[in-house]
Symmetry: C2
């Protein structure tokens, strides 16, 4: 997969799961909703994502360390002449690497990958409080055209 200076993007492996969970938790929103990185529910979710041909869990690796993650899901539907869309979820950069453009490079990489697959659209939602992230979505040409609704059931 693509090599950027010092950072490699590649599919996540089972052994990356604790590092990914640690990034999900090290976040002002994630801190309250994640658990032990070795919880078997994370591994079960990894196995399902890994087995699904329409899901890609990606990590950014630098010097053998996982420094970023995001999940790409390729969604089918009838809309737009049956177009496939790429949805980006759970984008995180390790604390020590924030503010250095890695998040933006990850999203650019995802957009390029979606374009190569022939997706008609890339979509994501971002919590209203993540104003830093919004700047690079805007810069990459994303339109903040929608309201993102969530209903917690648990």
């Amino acid at each position: 997969m693509q090599q950027s200076p010092n950072v490699l993007f590649r599919p996540a492996r089972k052994g990356d799961v604790p590092a990914i969970v640690a990034m999900l938790a090290d976040d002002h929103l994630g801190a309250t909703r994640e658990g032990d990185p070795h919880d078997e529910r994370y591994l079960a979710a990894f196995e399902r994502v890994d087995a699904d041909p329409y899901d890609e869990l990606i990590v950014a690796e630098r010097d053998g360390e996982v420094v970023g993650t995001m999940q790409l899901s390729y969604l089918a539907g009838l809309s737009r002449l049956g177009a496939e869309r790429c949805q980006i979820e759970a984008v995180r950069v390790v604390a020590a690497m924030r503010g250095q453009g890695l998040g933006r490079r990850m999203i650019q990489w995802a957009v390029d990958r979606a374009r190569e697959r022939g997706c008609a659209i890339v979509q994501l939602t971002s919590d209203k409080s993540r104003t830093d992230a919004h700047r690079f979505y805007d810069a990459l040409g994303f339109k903040a055209s929608h309201v993102g609704y969530k209903l917690a059931l648990t």
Copy 2:
């Protein structure tokens, strides 16, 4: 599946595809991006959705006529202890039935179904111009917590 007075919710069948596409197109946003309801790309997308155990294309039927549609996708990911989330896409009600509460009943039905499956969250995005829809999402307890970004590639 659940029977509401005069309206039945059920999985879509291949023969429903033209009626679903007609609803997608009969919309101030969809009008410019849909095509011939018999275009084979719609059928191909239907086949993929129909074969995917994590996708449900639902129609609302009244007196043998398709009067509403929505797609439910059950997304896996590591976030929130590996929770499954239900995403609702492509919600449409036929013109003659709008403003009578059918859309709200469809979303309520989807939420109940997601809860039965054990999903942790139900999520959707809605174009900022769909202010009528926003009222029933609010009324059903959804929080407009996110910005929904889209990047068109074609």
